[in-house]
């Protein structure tokens, strides 16, 4: 059955059951205003929903009944027994139709004219129609109340016809009764539907959960006892008990989970109707509907979600005419997206509408005295946008029926914060807004990795775990220490490491033990990836997250606690909390930077800081560095005016920061190894300073040097190394890779380029480089967004796309483009950080016309300039 219909029926039938009792009371107290109001509300709801579901018959009856009930409620009419009787008839009819719906999923055939006429007559005239006799034996009270009347008979009552207030249209009650079809009288349909779903108080589920927990513990004890004893007669039933307990536990846990799709199911309809109401063209896209969350949490976010979707439709999106004037597709898009991330559930509501008007927000904030006018100028756009969460703050110019009454985002925020969640807004004027709701898994069940650090066990939600690595000791993954900072070399990456025990203030294991190697859990928090060193790893286990006691809530390292299968309590690690603690643990300069990052923490890049060229601090994205080595002065050999060393079975050229062959007088020097198509090259530096996570605002230089520009990192002006330029200059002759130069000089002016990359860093870095070449640049932060541009009819001369992106990756993106549509023949270049030959091949198969390294300005421009040739550099 249609979900919507089935939900509607369940709700109505439930209410009707309650109403059965009320009806008896209504008969006894026909003028109880509360009772009438209650019945009115129910009938009103039924009527309203009927419209959605296209249930004409039900709607007609409910509508007529509502009119009468409305008059009764407003006191325009006295609730005489006769009136009540007709209302009762109407309610019975509603119930019958509902029953019919439940068993056949369609409105039963039937004619309600008589009943509706009777109701309309009452509503129109306020008059009592013919005193109806009880039309069915299921109205015992009526019978009782009309004891003075002649006993019911099938004959029409002449007395009723001669009733003075009766109008010609009054219909015989028996005629009304006759409209019922026999099968409608059976309640079987209703019962079977009611049996499918049950409403259970959450408390009861909670109690069940507790009981199951105890059962698990008892089972465990029993198992242990029997293991020591040896009664074979016990083995089999115990095994069964063991299994059943497990299944019971799983079942009870499941009772509390629901896919977020259930909260979304009503939205397509809502959006469709809203679109008609506000005269817009709206498309609703939904991703991640299967994301499960706790039923209670779901209930709490249902209304806020609906509200935000309404807002997006009403205020966010422009009218089709306005949109086409702005060069957007006439059809606006509202996107809903849900996923699990780092132990949280993230829900995104986005629209591609007009975005927040910060000027208007600022004006309103000043008018409302929320901020002084003088302070507005100094406020970041982001901070201004936060004002929409203030109580009674609505920027809608007109209050429409849909929204704009000023009961808006503050209520949404309050509701979300009530369940320990948070809401954020990102909005660009003219481009749209995205609300990101983050809800902790307070009540949810997650799969968690159980691990040990500092002698204590902890649970780490599996969702944040990227991989597990055995590192150090004799393992192939080495742990380096750079200026007190531990870094793990994992394949071609360097990952910052943190000891979980140290971070939590627990005693770290003895050095000897550490030398034997440790386990590293590679975790991802938003865009950051780092390694957590732990002492031991156990199993993964499904855990029920329980909130910590209020007095522990200030400890940000934990998102909750849980009871493991063996009965012990463990704390659940909160990766977000840990990540921010790690930030806070760094130096003073960094702390200031962390505060800056709080303002705009869109994206952070792992940077390796080093000193070169006479103490100048420089940085290079960690992702571009293949390895760090200590080069022994004695091992450096001169070769053809260059410096090389024997490295991994081949010769590796070494250069200093100015691209000259490296000269090392004595001792060891740290060296950054870069890899290009399987060839290594080393940059000898003076000192490795640190690995930092930083959000870079780059001040780009107009002309190339060996740096891309300068940024303040760790409190010091730092040059960002232009790896490609450096590699070309230092080693270009060595590998004779200058063929790209041939493409220089072509005119790029006016070409329109689309950059698709989820990294704001890359986007902001590439844009000025390309614009300096005279190109027009448009950016998209996801493949989805890019495809939306395509569907809106935007055209580009060239598209540069990242490969690794959340959601749709670059391969899928290019495949999508190549399957058809306006971009089928558009030149698309892959943007890669470190491509292996097989990656290149895969990209070619997927449909890329070429690929180019990130941060490789020269090759990028060469590639863009090449009209037909496929340039492959770095």
């Amino acid at each position: 059955m249609d979900d919507l219909l089935s939900e509607f029926l369940t709700e109505c039938l439930e209410s009707m059951t309650v109403l059965d009792g009320e009806l008896v009371r209504l008969e006894q107290h026909p003028d109880d205003p509360e009772l009438i109001a209650g019945i009115f509300r129910l009938v009103h709801t039924i009527k309203g929903t009927c419209g959605f579901l296209d249930l004409a018959r039900l709607e007609a009856v409910a509508h007529a009944a509502e009119n009468v009930l409305g008059k009764l409620r407003d006191g325009e009419m006295a609730a005489s027994r006769a009136v009540v009787s007709v209302v009762l008839e109407a309610l019975d009819r509603i119930k019958e139709i509902l029953d019919g719906l439940a068993s056949t999923q369609a409105e039963p055939e039937g004619d309600d004219t008589a009943l509706i006429t009777a109701l309309d007559t009452i509503a129109a005239t306020g008059a009592r129609p013919a005193e109806p006799r009880p039309s069915a034996a299921d109205l015992p009270v009526v019978v009782q109340a009309e004891a003075t009347e002649p006993p019911p008979s099938a004959e029409p009552q002449p007395a009723a016809r001669s009733e003075p207030s009766a109008v010609a249209a009054v219909v015989e009650p028996d005629a009304i009764a006759a409209e019922r079809s026999p099968e409608m009288r059976s309640g079987a349909g209703a019962e079977s539907l009611a049996a499918q779903t049950l409403r259970v108080p959450v408390d009861l589920l909670e109690q069940l959960m507790t009981l199951v927990g105890e059962l698990v513990l008892t089972r465990n004890q029993l198992l242990q006892t029997v293991r020591h004893g040896s009664d074979p007669a016990l083995q089999s039933p115990l095994q069964r008990l063991d299994q059943l307990t497990g299944e019971l536990q799983e079942g009870v846990m499941k009772t509390r989970m629901q896919a977020i799709g259930t909260a979304w199911s009503k939205l397509p309809r809502l959006v469709r109707d809203l679109a008609i109401e506000v005269d817009k063209e709206i498309e609703l896209t939904m991703h991640g509907a299967e994301t499960e969350l706790d039923r209670q949490v779901l209930e709490m976010i249902k209304d806020p979600l609906t509200h935000m979707v309404r807002n997006a439709a009403d205020h966010g999106l422009e009218s089709p005419d306005e949109r086409s004037r702005l060069g957007k597709a006439r059809k606006g898009t509202i996107g809903l997206r849900a996923c699990h991330e780092g132990g949280h559930i993230i829900i995104e509501i986005s629209d591609d509408g007009r975005g927040l008007d910060t000027d208007r927000i600022a004006a309103k904030a000043v008018a409302r005295g929320l901020v002084a006018e003088a302070d507005i100028a100094g406020m970041a756009e982001r901070d201004l946008q936060q004002f929409i969460f203030h109580p009674g703050f609505s920027t809608a110019e007109t209050v429409t029926a849909v929204s704009g009454r000023g009961v808006g985002m503050d209520v949404v925020r309050t509701n979300i914060e009530k369940i320990g969640g948070s809401i954020e807004i990102r909005s660009t004027k003219g481009k749209g807004s995205t609300f990101t709701i983050k809800i902790p898994l307070t009540l949810a069940i997650v799969s968690a990795l159980i691990l040990e650090a500092g002698g204590e066990r902890f649970a780490l939600p599996q969702l944040g775990v990227v991989e597990l690595v055995r590192a150090g000791g004799r393992s192939e993954h080495r742990i380096e220490t750079m200026d007190g900072m531990r870094v793990l070399r994992l394949r071609d990456r360097l990952l910052p490491l943190a000891s979980l025990a140290t971070t939590l203030g627990l005693a770290a294991p003895a050095t000897g033990q550490r030398d034997a190697g440790s386990y590293v859990v590679v975790v991802r928090v938003g865009p950051r990836v780092f390694g957590l060193e732990v002492d031991r790893l156990f199993d993964t286990e499904e855990i029920v997250v329980k909130p910590v006691a209020p007095i522990l809530r200030s400890v940000s390292a934990f998102s909750g606690n849980t009871i493991l299968g063996d009965g012990s309590v463990v704390m659940i690690l909160d990766l977000n909390g840990l990540a921010s603690m790690l930030d806070a643990g760094r130096g003073e300069a960094d702390r200031r930077q962390t505060m800056d990052e709080r303002v705009q923490k869109d994206e952070r890049v792992s940077l390796l800081l080093f000193k070169a060229g006479g103490g100048q601090q420089m940085a290079v994205p960690l992702a571009l560095v293949t390895r760090l080595e200590q080069i022994e002065a004695a091992t450096i050999e001169p070769a053809g005016g260059r410096s090389v060393i024997q490295y991994r079975g081949s010769l590796m050229p070494l250069a200093d920061i100015d691209g000259r062959p490296a000269r090392v007088e004595a001792g060891q020097r740290p060296t950054l190894v870069f890899t290009d198509c399987g060839r290594n090259m080393g940059l000898v530096v003076e000192e490795i300073v640190d690995v930092v996570e930083a959000d870079i605002t780059l001040e780009l230089r107009g002309t190339g040097g060996n740096d891309l520009g300068t940024a303040i990192i760790a409190g010091r002006p730092t040059q960002l190394l232009d790896v490609a330029f450096f590699v070309n200059r230092a080693f270009g002759g060595w590998f004779a890779a200058e063929e790209t130069e041939a493409f220089r000089g072509n005119d790029n002016r006016g070409r329109h380029v689309l950059i698709v990359d989820d990294s704001r860093f890359v986007r902001t870095m590439l844009q000025p480089i390309l614009e300096a070449e005279g190109m027009r640049v448009t950016t998209a932060d996801s493949a989805d967004r890019a495809l939306r541009m395509r569907d809106e009819g935007q055209a580009f001369d060239l598209i540069i796309s990242d490969i690794e992106m959340p959601g749709m990756d670059g391969f899928a993106f290019v495949e999508n483009c190549r399957t058809g549509g306006p971009w089928q023949r558009t030149r698309i270049i892959a943007l890669t950080s470190h491509a292996t030959p097989s990656d290149v091949e895969r990209g070619r198969l997927a449909g890329f016309d070429g690929h180019v390294g990130k941060l490789d300005r020269e090759a990028l421009i060469a590639t863009l300039t090449a009209n037909h040739a496929t340039a492959e550099v770095l």
Binding site: E214, L217, E456, L504, P550, S554, V555, F558, N561, V569
Partner: protein
């Protein structure tokens, strides 16, 4: 006048304390505690009581009692109290009898107590052989948040 009331008495470092019996849910012997790193020093850990997670408070630390020697962890007793729907356990050296104490023995003025205790006590009962400090559970559990 207050009614005579029933207190569960307990001993921490030879000093008697009491809490009202209606707040007490359970009395347990030694329980294994899972530590909560970074939490306030008074928090001894968390434990599982029949499927519910109980936060254990080291009452001695909470009362800033300097002990001559550290109490062996496996000798601590748990007095589990219910506070606003959450269960907390007070770790004490010994659990004594349930005492029914009349008003005539009660002294609401806590100024004679050591300073750290004053704000945590309802008052003092004069027992025949010693003094018993009645604890205000609400305030005992109102730990200053850390971090």
């Amino acid at each position: 006048m207050r009614e005579p009331r029933q207190l569960v008495s307990m001993v921490v470092a030879e000093q008697q304390f009491g809490v009202r019996i209606d707040a007490v849910r359970d009395i347990l012997g030694f329980q294994h505690l899972a530590k909560v790193p970074l939490a306030a020093a008074e928090i001894a850990g968390v434990l599982n009581l029949r499927g519910r997670i109980v936060t254990a408070i080291d009452l001695g630390r909470r009362l800033t009692i300097e002990r001559a020697g550290t109490l062996p962890a496996d000798q601590a007793m748990n007095i589990v109290v219910d506070h606003r729907g959450e269960l907390y356990s007070l770790l004490v050296d010994r659990v004594g009898d349930v005492l029914t104490l009349g008003e005539e023995r009660f002294e609401a003025d806590t100024s004679s107590l050591p300073a750290p205790w004053r704000s945590l006590a309802h008052g003092i009962f004069r027992l025949d052989e010693a003094l018993l400090v009645e604890l205000d559970i609400e305030r005992v559990l109102a730990l200053q948040p850390v971090g």
